[in-house]
Symmetry: C2
Subunit: 159 residues, 2 copies
DNA sequence: AGAATTCCGAGTGAATCGGTAGGATTTTCG
DNA sequence: CGAAAATCCTACCGATTCACTCGGAATTCT
């Protein structure tokens, strides 16, 4: 249950861009220096974030990267999914999983718990924006959909 | 954010043992057949679960494995941690992480979100017992400690 | 005795991961 | 213009990990 360094590095780069938001573009070399990341590797990650439309690159002298949206409008979930692929502890919990394509599904007892794990990860990642991270705040977005009932209970009991 | 096949297979094997609990020991070959898992690979996983004290093996004819505790007293979290290692999206969220050993910790903005991801995964895994899976029920154990506030909120708002 | 089973440790092929290398293109500035 | 600084693009690569196999020893029941 580790997150790849791709997602980890990429998110760190995005927090730097969030801090720099409003000023000019931030050079990749600068991000790499501040965060202590290998520049050429980070280059690949930025390319994917750019293709996904989260950042744009400006070439030439004084070039660099900028966020295409305000930091409060970009969730950690977006960033992670681009670099990490879909959040799915097991294949049959991925969004693109065709119901029934695992022939064991009818008598599979373990799927439900992985499904709840996935949903709870999604909930955290989608509730948190880059701005939240910069402000050192917990996730500010309330996520509406189906949450694990066991967790909802705990939340309510706690009052 | 995938779970290894070790944990996945191991949990499936444990659900079979949970179903068989109370009867005699269940042979590994039988588990492998029913679950469609490679027997010799599963053998390794069972060895780890045995060394951890979750199952015991009985050799010889009509031998096999049995759970050492009732299925309602074994959580999915225990099983997964044995086979998967500690749940930690990034190293600095592991239990054995010495605070401050990552020199970037003071200005690391991303750690908090990984910490909340870890806690929410733990919450799901520790709330669910093998008996819950057999009964097709959600996690029955309420987990007391610190849950992500954002999620608690959602739980309460939903009433 | 013999069959069925768990136990044990080494080995292996392929995939993935984290990272590098080299160069082309674009932009700014003197 | 021409040099410097930056992004873009594509291929490669070494190490590790992963999922799995193999061979055999020890144990237990019939």
């Amino acid at each position: 249950m580790k997150v790849s360094s791709r997602a980890h590095y990429g998110l760190r780069a995005m927090t730097e861009l969030a801090k720099a938001f409003g000023g000019g573009p931030l050079a990749l070399s600068e991000i790499a220096r501040v965060e202590g990341l290998p520049a050429t590797y980070l280059e690949q990650l930025m390319a994917e974030l750019r293709k996904a439309g989260l950042v744009e690159g400006l070439r030439g002298l004084h070039g660099g990267y900028t966020l295409t949206r305000r930091p409060s409008q970009i969730t950690v979930g977006e960033v992670v999914r681009i670099l990490e692929g879909p959040i799915a502890p097991v294949d049959c919990t991925a969004e693109d999983y065709a119901a029934g394509s695992c022939h064991r599904e009818p008598d599979c007892l373990s799927r439900s718990v992985w499904q709840r794990v996935k949903e709870s990860i999604d909930a955290v990642l989608d509730a948190t924006t880059l701005q939240d991270l910069v402000d050192g705040r917990e996730g500010s977005r309330t996520v509406l959909p189906t949450l694990p009932i066991s967790i909802q209970k705990v939340g309510c009991y706690s009052r």
